[in-house]
């Protein structure tokens, strides 16, 4: 926004040590110059990025990254990790069996199964924790 003055360059003396180093290592200097071309290409790419971005894009990217990191922070709790693994394994196992439609009677019958009972107990505990979390908010 500020009208900046153009940068002025001043002629500087090349140190003798540098001149000698270039004279004594012509192959290395040639390789360096060749690689400078790659560096310049990378700078061009960076300049393109700088030219294409604006403040809101930077803020938006950072906001998204922050939201993801906050979710990751909560998810990194060892108990949460264990719970998520348990749920994910259960989803995988459920996919392996052929699920059939179940009505009210079928649902009642299923509750006699000890594994279903244990699963329902877990879901009730999950519901209670969700409810407690809602109270806190």
């Amino acid at each position: 926004m500020q009208d900046h003055e153009p940068t002025t360059t001043t002629e500087q003396q090349v140190p003798d040590e540098l001149v000698r180093a270039i004279e004594n290592n012509p192959e290395e200097v040639a390789l360096l110059v060749e690689r400078l071309g790659l560096v310049n290409d990378l700078i061009d790419v960076l300049e393109l990025g700088v030219g294409a971005l604006d403040d809101e894009m930077v803020r938006s990217l950072a906001r998204t990254g922050t939201s993801l990191a906050e979710v990751a922070d909560d998810a990194a709790d060892p108990d949460t990790v264990a719970g998520m693994k348990r749920l994910l394994r259960a989803v995988g196992d459920a996919e392996e069996v052929e699920a059939t439609p179940v009505g009210a009677v079928g649902l009642l019958r299923a509750t006699r199964d000890p594994e279903v009972k244990a699963g329902l107990g877990y879901l009730v505990a999950l519901a209670a924790a969700l409810g407690a979390g809602t109270d806190e908010e």
């Binding site: 403040d55 930077v58 950072a62 922050t66 906050e70 806190e136 908010e137």
Partner: protein, 381 residues
């Protein structure tokens, strides 16, 4: 017996130290050997650096506000109450509501700095500022109506929060006025109460040519003693006066009265060992952030680094070890040099301040940091 660690203050220092303690002492807390309690008189956590952008329409005050509960680890007990007094002999906190008494084994004071606009006659009536949500919004409205004249940025109170903010505001407002075609009609004046343009000599040396290049008149040794809102004049102890059309002041600050009432330090700043951050008046009390009387500016980054150091010290003490972690004075501040570029400064107790060449990537780094501040508050960064 449970080791009770109590933190007072829900700002940057208090929130970060609580979260770091919860992280460091997770197993001890889960086993019931340690309790971490954060006492704050506000259910909200406010990230104040956002206020700098509000006057220019670049942010809303709510952008910097979150529920404290959302930011604090669930292992931390959160108590909403105002602590009135610390009894360091009985190791108890006396609170305002319900006569609640909280006992502690280790106490961390992070009560922060308060604005004290009435310390200078006429400031409240005559000066705008951007150190609170209301103040920043009023300044936004005043700037929107400003059509030229003399705009004065006056650093009235020192020490103050965010030491870079006065220069940042001056540089941004210069750019902002240019973008609105008002700069040629505006006489921009910057006053500072010391013999240079900033408390840090290296920062002043860096800022002076930029201020000159932008055509900002600088008045140093200008210790404001009054503002006359009717005559629109700000006057200094030396007798110097500057008249204004729009005055933006950095308000006088003070510490929390609970610190003075508890005999822990003058003006609300706790006297501490500058390396251990332990209060000189009480062995089991630490103070961090703006609350600690230290030879460094009152910056959020300092509070953040201090919180990490104190959490590590307390964790060592809880485990019966000798704490070795020390705070080295590390402070890092971004400095906006306009609407498009920024610099940053870093220093510690031993190393003088180093300023970087202003650039757009640093400006974006500041914006990116502001957006990701919530990770800092959670103790992740």
């Amino acid at each position: 017996m449970t080791n009770r660690i109590v933190v007072v203050g829900g700002g940057t220092g208090g929130t970060v130290v609580s979260n770091r303690l919860a992280e460091e002492l997770a197993s001890e807390i889960d086993d019931g050997d340690v309790e971490v309690t954060l006492v704050s008189d506000d259910t909200k956590h406010v990230y104040k650096p956002v206020f700098l952008y509000v006057p220019f329409g670049l942010a809303e005050p709510d952008d910097g506000v979150r529920d404290l509960r959302e930011l604090v680890d669930e292992r931390v007990n959160l108590v909403t109450n105002r602590v009135r007094r610390v009894d360091t002999d009985e190791t108890r906190l006396y609170c305002q509501d319900g006569d609640e008494v909280i006992e502690y084994d280790t106490l961390v004071l992070a009560t922060g700095a308060k604005l004290d606009p009435d310390a200078v006659p006429g400031f409240r009536q005559g000066a705008h500022h951007f150190y609170s949500a209301d103040g920043a919004e009023r300044l936004r409205d005043a700037l929107a109506e400003f059509e030229g004249g003399r705009l004065v940025l006056s650093v009235v109170g020192t020490p103050h929060m965010c030491p870079a903010a006065p220069l940042e505001f001056t540089f941004i407002v210069d750019d902002w006025l240019r973008s609105r075609g008002l700069r040629e009609d505006t006489d921009l004046v910057y006053t500072y109460p010391m013999e240079r343009s900033h408390g840090k000599p290296e920062v002043a040396e860096w800022a002076d040519p930029i201020l000159a290049d932008r055509g900002v008149r600088v008045e140093t040794d200008f210790v404001v003693d009054a503002v006359d809102p009717d005559e629109r004049v700000v006057s200094a102890e030396s007798g110097a006066e500057v008249d204004y059309d729009l005055l933006v002041g950095i308000p006088p600050h003070r510490g929390d009265e609970l610190i003075t009432d508890s005999g822990l330090g003058d003006a609300g700043w706790v006297d501490v060992d500058q390396r251990t951050l332990r209060a000189t008046a009480a062995e089991d009390v630490y103070a961090i952030g703006d609350t600690a009387a230290l030879p460094i500016p009152k910056a959020g980054s300092a509070a953040h680094f201090q919180a990490f150091a104190v959490a590590e010290r307390i964790a060592a003490e809880v485990r019966g070890r000798t704490p070795t972690k020390r705070y080295d004075g590390k402070t890092v501040c971004f400095v906006e040099t306009g609407l498009d570029e920024a610099s940053f400064v870093s220093f510690d107790y031993e190393t003088p301040a180093t300023m970087r060449q202003p650039s757009k990537p640093i400006h974006w780094a500041k914006h990116a940091y502001n957006e990701s501040y919530w990770l800092t508050a959670r103790g992740m960064l």
